[in-house]
């Protein structure tokens, strides 16, 4: 299932036969085993799985923070060698620099003087995530949701080809999480950036993704890939949505006496 390299668009992401093993203590743990998938430019891929199934490792390899032991990862037609501005990343902890304000954090990401907050790009990004009123606030003054929005603004300011989101809303409460999911879709409407989301929330994966990849752990492999063909805006209570959710859910849990036991 190899991609047509010659005709790859700049925002196409191609992951081929990626392996990654970690050594924990004396044991070798296979985090990723023969992972192959593609994301086309402008697409939204959700990767869902339980903790420890290597989905974060996969994202970090795409970000360039880790290197795959085997296999290739291409963005456009360029292999990924290390971290870079073309792949923005939003972490579960916002990782805003606590000594800079919201707009200074965003300005810093642009390079140059972090006090160049008046730049139009910076202001536009801050407004995009709805933090115009809090542009001068420090991270410790923001709520969890606001801080993540600021982190998203910072990740987008360099117009990355891909936005990687590693369980970005995991630390937020349920209501804020839903709000943020809508935010991210709205941002995507405007920016049209390719997005790859890693989450353990099945509903979130379906709500946001054009495609959902289900991963299992030990070793980390792709269990299933589902297309999400639902029109946007999506409703979580629609029949089709619930069917998809049940289907993915069933990958992890068996119905019946022990609904919380693993199927594998």
């Amino acid at each position: 299932m190899s991609s047509v390299r010659g005709g790859a668009r700049a925002g196409d992401l191609s992951i081929e036969s990626v392996h990654k093993t970690f050594t924990i203590g004396r044991r070798a743990v296979s985090a990723l085993c023969d992972i192959t998938l593609q994301v086309e430019e402008g697409g939204f891929l959700s990767i869902v799985g339980a903790s420890g199934c290597g989905k974060s490792t996969l994202l970090r390899i795409v970000a360039g923070l880790e290197r795959a032991d085997r296999g290739t990862v291409l963005l456009g037609s360029q292999p990924i060698r290390g971290p870079g501005r073309d792949r923005g990343m939003v972490f579960q902890d916002h990782r805003l620099f606590p000594w800079l304000t919201v707009e200074q954090n965003v300005a810093f990401a642009l390079g140059g003087d972090p006090s160049r907050v008046s730049s139009a790009v910076v202001q536009q990004r801050v407004e995009l995530v709805g933090l115009a009123a809090f542009r001068g606030a420090y991270p410790h003054q923001l709520s969890g949701g606001m801080a993540q929005r600021a982190a998203i603004a910072r990740a987008l300011v360099n117009r990355p080809r891909v936005l990687l989101l590693d369980e970005p809303f995991g630390a937020l409460d349920a209501l804020t999480r839903i709000q943020m999911q809508q935010e991210i879709l709205r941002i995507r409407e405007v920016e049209r950036t390719t997005m790859v989301l890693v989450t353990h929330d099945i509903e979130e994966a379906i709500f946001l993704g054009d495609r959902v990849v289900v991963m299992s752990s030990s070793p980390g492999t792709i269990r299933r890939t589902l297309e999400v063909d639902l029109p946007r805006p999506r409703s979580r209570s629609r029949h089709e949505f619930m069917r998809l959710r049940r289907s993915i859910y069933a990958e992890f849990f068996t119905e019946g006496d022990e609904p919380f036991a693993y199927a594998i």
Binding site: P83, M89, R95, F97, P139, H140
Partner: protein, 285 residues
Amino acid sequence: MLSSTIVTRWLQAFGSSRAEGNASKRAHFALAAGRRALHYASLPIAALCLWQLTSVLDLVPAVAMPSPAQVARAFLELVRTGELLRHVAMSLARVLEGTAAAAALGIGLGIGVGLSRRLERATDLMLELLRPIPPIAWIPLAILWFGIGELSKLFIIFLGAFFPIVMNVISGIRQTEHKFVEVARILEVPRARFIRHVIVPGALPVIMSSLRLGLGIAWMCVVAAELIAASSGVGYLIMDARQLSRPDVVLAGMITIGVVGKAMDVALKRLERRVVEWKVIYQGE
């Protein structure tokens, strides 16, 4: 306890003798503040009472341990003649100068060693060997190198402050959180910018607290430093009083050192909080 109940009742009576509403809220606040002040003062007051008791009962001869009243008298005499202020000012000047020098060198070296593995390897052994040597042990060498003037005293104070500052700055720089390093890599931040805008601001809380620590230790060294031919300063005051068998003046001097040291610490803590207001530190229950 008994005393706090009395204070509580008194404050309550005070509060209820006025109009209700705002006044009672003010009384509440005064009550809480009063009780807190009592907590702070309870141990020192108890120690003072015990001390006065041992003097009254003559458990220790007055020649060995003067009574609180004698110490208070010695203290007031020093204040009245303006001597105390002169000595404190002199010592403060020395300590601030010495600490400033230690800060300049310590922070500079600390950042350098924190950032460069090579520099660390070059300096580590030297620093670790010199660090445990107490400043007082340097006095003979200080006199030989710098004579008996101000420079040798400043040297001793400098030594006292330098090591805590440089060691803490090194570890503060090293402790730059890995998560910020990752963000900087993704944003392709060049090294110089990374140092200036990520490492140093990130280490600023540690740098500030190391300054406070360094100043505190430098202040403790002032007595040692003023053993070198001083003619003024609180350290000199104490040593001179010792030679003249005036333990009451010695104690007055010691208490002064404690009070001034605490005042400096409070002032620096306030400055720290203002400079690094973005850092939320655990305050305790």
